[in-house]
C-alpha cells in the first residue's frame, strides 16, 4: 500500500504555459481521411492541440509558468529549497533538466534538484516526492515541474497518436504552513507488467543506436524504434478497470466521498476514458474540467492545464477541494487531494521563447566560459 498523508503542507499555487502554435485535428484530414479524423475527434474529444517548435522544450514552458507564479506570489528564488522536474521530455539525455531550471531561475545551491522519469502520473507522484522531501527536511518552499512534449516522438503518420498529444509545461508551488489542517493525501500504484504498452523502444541504453527504419506495425501505423508506441486497447482496459478502483480505494482511505470535492482535475487522456472513469467511480462529470478539446493530451501537465483553464480567471478567490489523478506510462497511476485558493491558480500563458544558451549545436560551445549573469 503506497498511501501517503502529509500535514502542514499546502499547494500554494499552480501555473502553466503552452506554445502559441495551434494544430487543429481537422487539418489531418488530408493525411488520414475525413472519416478517420472525425471518428478520432468524436472518441477522444481532441479538436486542437498546441505544439512546440523544434528547439522549444517543456522546461521552457515550465520556466515561463514558474516565473509568472513566483512573481504572482512575491516569492524570491532564494526561498526555494527543492526543485523537482517530472517528465519524459528532458532537455538532454543528461544532466537532469532540474539543474537547468535551477540555474535559469536563480535558485540557490543549497537546494535539492533532480528529475523524475514519469509521464502522465507526474503530478501525483511528483507531489508525493516533493511533500516527502519537505516533510522530512528543513525546506519550506518547493517547486514541482511537470509536462511533456510528447508529440515530438510520434511518427507523423501514426494515426493512433499524431492528433492526440498537446504540449505544455506546468509548475506547482508547495509550502509548509505550520497548520496541521493543511493536508495533502496521495495513493500511488505501479504495474511494471505493462511497461511495453507505452514505450519508445530505442534510444535508451538497451538499444542506444536503434534503427530508424520505418516499419509498418501490426496496428496499421508506421513507426521507427525511436517513436512512441501506444497499445491502445491494452491501455484502455487498464485505465477503465484500475483507475476507478484506485479512486474508490482513495475515497475509503481518506474517508471522503465524491460530493466532498469541488473539482476532479484528472489527466486528460481522452474524453472517452474520462467519461468511463467518472461513470465507474461515480464522479460528477461536470466537476471534471476538460482542457483536452483545445490543448490535447498534455501528459503530466494536463491536470494543471485543466485547473488553470477552469479557474485561471476566477474572480471569486475561493478555496476549492481538488482531487487530481494521473495514470499512464509505466504503468503508473496515482490520485491525490489538496485544497487551493483559486486566486493562486493562474491563467494559461502562451509562450514561444526558448533557452538559447541551452541549445548546443557545436560541442565546442561547451568549452566557452560560462556567463553567470545570464539567467534568461
Amino acid at each position: 500500500m503506497a498511501f501517503f498523508k502529509f500535514n502542514s503542507i499546502r499547494v500554494a499555487g499552480v501555473a502553466c504555459a503552452v506554445p502559441k502554435n495551434e494544430v487543429k485535428s481537422e487539418t489531418y484530414k488530408s493525411l488520414f481521411g475525413d472519416e478517420e479524423v472525425e471518428k478520432f475527434i468524436e472518441m477522444t474529444g481532441v479538436h486542437a492541440s498546441r505544439r512546440t517548435f523544434e528547439h522549444q522544450t517543456c522546461s521552457d514552458l515550465g520556466f515561463r509558468a514558474a516565473s509568472e507564479l513566483m512573481a504572482h506570489k512575491g516569492i524570491k528564488p532564494e526561498e526555494i529549497g527543492a526543485l523537482i522536474f517530472s517528465s519524459h521530455s528532458p532537455d538532454y539525455r543528461r544532466p537532469s533538466t532540474a539543474f537547468v531550471l535551477q540555474y535559469r531561475l536563480g535558485i540557490p545551491k543549497e537546494s535539492v534538484c533532480y528529475d523524475i522519469s514519469l509521464g502522465c502520473s507526474s503530478l501525483v507522484v511528483g507531489m508525493q516526492t516533493v511533500a516527502s522531501i519537505m516533510n522530512s527536511g528543513d525546506i519550506s518552499k518547493a517547486l514541482l515541474f511537470v509536462g511533456d512534449t510528447a508529440g515530438k516522438s510520434v511518427y507523423p503518420e501514426d494515426r493512433s497518436s499524431a492528433m492526440l498529444f498537446g504540449e505544455a509545461g506546468a509548475v506547482m508551488l508547495l509550502e509548509k504552513t505550520g497548520n496541521p489542517s493543511d493536508e495533502i493525501n496521495a495513493l500511488i500504484r505501479s504495474d511494471g507488467s505493462g511497461f511495453r504498452y507505452m514505450i519508445i523502444p530505442g534510444g535508451g541504453y538497451r538499444n542506444l543506436h536503434a534503427s530508424e527504419e520505418v516499419v509498418m506495425c501490426k496496428d496499421g501505423n508506421p513507426r521507427t524504434l525511436m517513436n512512441s508506441f501506444i497499445q491502445g486497447t491494452s491501455v484502455f482496459t487498464f485505465t477503465i478497470f484500475d483507475v476507478p478502483r484506485l479512486i474508490k480505494d482513495f475515497f475509503e482511505l481518506t474517508q471522503t466521498t465524491s460530493d466532498q470535492y469541488d473539482c476532479f482535475a484528472f489527466h486528460q487522456a481522452n474524453l472517452y476514458i474520462l467519461k468511463q472513469i467518472a461513470k465507474k467511480a461515480k464522479i460528477d462529470f461536470e466537476k471534471m474540467p476538460i482542457s483536452l478539446d483545445r490543448y490535447g493530451n498534455t501528459s503530466g501537465a494536463s491536470a494543471i492545464v485543466s485547473l488553470c483553464d477552469r479557474y485561471g480567471n476566477d474572480s471569486e478567490k475561493k478555496s476549492v477541494k481538488v482531487m487530481a489523478c494521473g495514470f499512464g506510462i509505466g504503468i503508473s497511476l496515482g490520485v491525490t487531494s489538496f485544497e487551493i485558493n483559486t486566486a493562486d491558480i493562474l491563467p494559461i500563458f502562451e509562450d514561444d521563447s526558448f533557452y538559447e544558451d541551452g541549445l548546443i549545436t557545436d560541442p565546442n560551445q561547451l568549452y566557452q566560459k560560462k556567463n553567470d549573469s545570464q539567467h534568461s
Binding site: G194, G232, F236, T237, Y272, K280
Partner: protein, 81 residues
C-alpha cells in the same frame, strides 16, 4: 439469460451489426479497438467480470457466442477462487 444481456450490450454499442449471426467481428474489421473497449467496460458493469489484457485474443471477440463463453469462463474462474 447471459446471452440476452450480452446482446443488449452489443446492440447498444453497435446497433448496425448483426451480432446474432456474425462470426468474424474482429477478423472482418466490423469491431474496432474502441468498440472492444466499450464492450469490455459494459461487461464489467453488467456482469462484474473484468476482461484483462491476456484475454484480449481477437478470437474471443469474433462472435457474441465467443464473448459469452469468455464471460462464463471468467465467472467460473472467479467462483473457484
Amino acid at each position: 439469460m447471459a446471452m440476452e444481456k450480452l446482446l443488449a450490450i452489443l446492440k447498444d454499442i453497435r446497433p448496425d451489426v448483426d451480432f446474432e449471426n456474425e462470426t468474424e467481428l474482429i477478423d472482418n474489421g466490423i469491431l474496432d479497438s474502441f468498440d472492444v473497449v466499450s464492450i469490455i467496460s459494459e461487461i464489467d458493469d453488467v456482469f462484474d467480470v473484468q476482461i484483462r489484457i491476456n484475454e484480449l485474443d481477437p478470437e474471443n471477440f469474433n462472435s457474441a457466442e465467443n464473448i459469452c463463453n469468455l464471460i462464463t469462463k471468467l465467472k467460473n474462474i472467479e467462483n473457484k477462487q
